[in-house]
Amino acid sequence: MSIRRCLKLLTVSMPMAFASYGGSALADVPSYVRIVGITYAGSGCPAGTVGNNVSPDFQAFTLLFDQYQALAGPGVSFSQKRKNCQVNVSMDIPSGWSYTLFTVDTRGYVSLQPGVRAMEQSSYYFQGQSLTGRQQTIVYGPTDRNYQATDQLTLENQVWSPCGAVRSLNINTEVRVDNSAAPNNQGMMTVDSIDGHFKLIYGLRWRRCG
């Protein structure tokens, strides 16, 4: 979207945006924001294995996974060593605002024998764009515990939605287990420790265009 178009949108929408704030002009949130749709696919979340919930203010959502786990060990096929789930979130936002992802909390369970390594990674991009933000957490065996990975996006890896166009946010999460340094040992990384669910909580962050 061109700068010209973005400026035009700003000119038109900013007075309205300020007006709609009323007494809360300091709140850095546009007058309305809504998550209007979530779709997903991936080796870790085939159709029918995900539950999702959008918060009452439509600014956060939760995903619950039934069978999202990576495994490594003797005789385990390569495709088991890495699982992913990409989530596409459609937003309705006012003209003149842009948004980015704020935090991602990934919770799960990891069990690794000595010499086995596991990784959780989240990649972010806006529909149609090449720029990708990425955060990862690496765990070394031996270990056997629940984990929580909180990705707090910094200024360096923040990816903002384009101004003046509505583009959905893509969040590609993945877990990998690597036993190449200890081929006889096993490991698993799942996000399904006790209740059989992998849980992600997302928050969104906003800024004005221009």
């Binding site: 979207m1 061109s2 178009r5 209007v36 749709g37 779709t39 997903y40 696919a41 991936g42 080796s43 979340c45 085939p46 159709a47 096929s77 390569f78 495709s79 060593k81 890495r82 992913n84 990409q86 596409n88 459609s90 309705d92 003209s95 990674q121 990649s123 991009y125 529909q127 149609g128 764009q129 090449s130 990708t132 166009a165 509505v166 583009r167 959905s168 893509n170 590609n172 993945e174 690597d178």
Partner: protein
């Protein structure tokens, strides 16, 4: 035959988003994606999630089963393909110029094996012409991505003087195989997949994004002489 009708999705999105966006979509862009369907070993029915932007300029496809794993077949070569058929529509007096394609995925390739990801396009029947190719030589264990552009204005496909609906195809494939000239443990050259224990590889495409290239407003242009 697997068919996903974007038009319905677009109408649904627009109705959720209200009349403001509908007006935007109608006035801001003289052309856009009208419909899409896909088929192939990499995108069987029920394994793809799709999203089209409300202004119909950009789409995202996410895959659950677009993966090859040669560790389950003693390292013998394996390939998967997904052909995406994209229907475009434009206002009279405009033509398409440039379509961009982002492919993202992951590969875990052992030394001695290679993974190849390729994007071809065609305007009709036939295998088409390559617009992007990426070769990952093992050892490799990481995400990969590629961006390629399809110039539409240069093609007969997007003429100024005929109908407003056009269709083109994107054929995306992934292949994992032993490297040509690979020598196995006894030093014997074997590049045809005949031996029992080739190096393994796993390769997957997670998502494909495609749409009008917008940086310089060249996704479409007004026809001259009108």
């Amino acid at each position: 035959m697997l068919v996903f009708r974007w038009i319905c999705a677009a109408v649904l999105s627009v109705s959720l988003l209200g009349p403001r966006l509908m007006a935007d979509a109608a006035t801001a862009h003289p052309s856009g994606i009208e419909g899409i369907d896909y088929r192939g070993t990499g995108c069987p029915e029920g394994s793809v999630a799709a999203n089209l932007a409300p202004d119909a300029q950009t789409m995202t496809l996410i895959f659950s089963a677009f993966a090859v794993d040669t560790s389950t077949r003693s390292g013998r070569p394996m390939r998967k393909v997904c052909v995406i058929n994209i229907a475009m529509g434009t206002e009279p007096g405009w033509q398409f110029t440039l379509f961009g394609v982002n492919v993202r995925g992951y590969a875990n390739i052992q030394s001695g094996a290679v993974g190849v990801q390729q994007v071809l396009h065609s305007f009709g029947q036939g295998s088409g012409q390559a617009i992007g190719r990426q070769q990952l030589i093992g050892p490799f264990d990481n995400n990969f991505s590629s961006y390629s552009e399809l110039p539409l204005a240069a093609a007969e496909w997007s003429p100024c003087d005929s109908g407003r609906h056009r269709r083109f195809h994107l054929r995306t494939s992934i292949t994992v195989r032993p490297r040509l000239g690979f020598r196995d443990s006894d030093g014997e050259q074997d590049d045809g997949g005949k031996g029992p224990n080739f190096p393994y590889g796993y390769m997957t495409i997670d998502s494909i994004d495609g749409g009008m290239v917008q940086q310089y407003q060249v996704g479409w242009r007004r026809c001259t002489g009108r």
